[in-house]
Symmetry: C2
């Protein structure tokens, strides 16, 4: 169950929808991941540990919400959203390694390399990435095989050196530096934004194809939400406690990383998140009731407490 | 130029063919990899360092040779073989990391984490894997998009926890143990064999589809060659010098890893390689002249000195 603030926008109805989506993606990930009793067992145990039973599943929820725009079958969206979540999970495992953020706590539990060992955590990330592409390639996600190849391309590009992995590299290079707002934005558009956009576009692509103009609006929505997500992440890292967050709080300052809070202060960072929230909602104008869940997810991203 | 022993089988003609293939794959990799002046520059420099200018390119050569079975266009095979080589290169970068084999020398040069740093090397491997799938998805490798999705699936499965990454995990778990021959074989069929088989099957798939029986023979050829390659690797690691090998020699014994040499001794290991070589050639019976390059590559794998 997604613990969100009750507002006029985030209603019990949304909580129920999100909870159903989370259960659906959890069940799907359970079967996508190799069984823990298949050889090599320890690797499979560690892959399941890294993926299952935790996480807000924001990316699969975005995929489900975007799928509602295009009347996509939820079974297909669960596969696309599952693939994106596997990429996200791999990035967390590698990001927590000693040579990267060197973190010991993730989603309220010991990180993968602490629970298992560094070499296993390295292989877990590697194998989760392969699995994500296997999932996209071996299941029917759309009736058009060429469109499905385009989905593979989209997730690969979002994961690679011009997407998420590139964002991590920019993040590493920024330690100890103060970045300008455009530089911060460039980093986050890659580091977290690329996969959030991919989740949204892949979810939509499981249904009927959108016109280019609609696709452009949806992508702009996802770009704004991705940035808002990061701004709020920075605010929460500065304000929250480790217990609430489920991961080590205050790590950014401790690691001397530039954040929206270090660049703007908490108050202005929250204002920026509000502006991005409004921009995201504006991008959905014209989609009507089909975009209800996307709007509610935008609300959730900005109002979340963890 | 591939420095191989001159035998009745490995002729100047083969050397020329291999040299052309190596140049073709090098040129293709040059353009597949992001330019070093694109941001994030350091990551792109490191990716290019890890992939370009070295390596025997055995996997792409297998793809080219298998492509000759099916009249595949060399431009398409270069893309498929390039994708496989990106996966191979990523696996070497991660394998050399301190938490894995902790090696400082590869292909006659400092390993990626020595030349750059550990975090960059981690991201290099991650981004090379993404790039491999991007290459398979965004280029036309065959006229049938469904067949191309199957190529993505094949490479993903060969890379993942039931393929190469799984083989690495088995390898890690085997340190300090003595394995039986079937256990050693199980490890190597995953660790190196899966990608060698994928290279061969992907190369063939760029051309006209093979009948199931032919595909089965080709796969058996690749399985035998993959194992023979590993047996010879173990022999060379035990016999060769670091200078000849271009990577640290004697590492297996030093790392207390079970090898074909530790299980059988050098003499029996060489006999096993000869048997696998013969099995591989037998699998090609019936393919006629189209399989000339595959036969010559089989000879090369067993007779190579590095």
């Amino acid at each position: 169950m997604l613990p969100v603030m009750m507002t006029t926008k985030i209603t019990g109805d949304f909580q129920h929808w999100a909870s159903v989506g989370q259960q659906r993606i959890e069940a799907r990930l359970q079967t996508l991941l190799p069984s823990a009793d298949l050889a090599p067992q320890r690797l499979h145990q560690a892959m399941r540990y890294a993926v299952l039973g935790a996480g807000k599943r924001v990316r699969p929820l975005l995929a489900f919400a975007a799928g509602e725009l295009t009347e996509a079958g939820p079974g297909r969206v669960a596969l696309a959203g599952g693939a994106v979540e596997l990429i996200h999970a791999y990035s967390l495992v590698h990001d927590d390694l000693p040579c990267m953020d060197d973190d010991v706590l993730r989603r309220g539990r010991p990180t993968c390399h602490v629970e298992f060992d560094e070499a296993t955590a390295l292989l877990v990330g590697d194998a989760l990435q392969s699995l994500a592409f296997q999932v996209l390639a071996e299941n029917c996600l759309t009736d058009d095989a060429s469109a499905q190849l385009e989905m593979v391309r989209l997730l690969a590009a979002a994961s690679g050196s011009r997407g998420m992995a590139g964002g991590q590299a920019i993040d590493l290079a920024a330690i100890g530096k103060s970045l300008t707002l455009p530089e911060l934005e460039f980093m986050h558009i890659h580091k977290t934004g690329a996969i959030i956009r991919a989740a949204t576009l892949l979810g939509a692509r499981c249904g009927t194809a959108l016109a280019d103009a609609e696709l452009h609006k949806l992508d702009h929505f996802a770009k704004c939400i991705g940035l808002a997500f990061q701004v709020i992440d920075d605010v929460l890292d500065a304000e929250a406690t480790t217990a609430t967050l489920g991961k080590t709080a205050g790590k950014d300052a401790q690691n001397n990383k530039p954040t929206y809070v270090s660049a703007l202060g908490v108050g202005e960072a929250r204002k920026l998140a509000t502006q991005l929230h409004q921009d995201a909602l504006a991008a959905l104008d014209g989609f009507g009731e089909r975009a209800l869940r996307l709007r509610q997810l935008a609300d959730f991203v900005v109002m979340r407490k963890f």
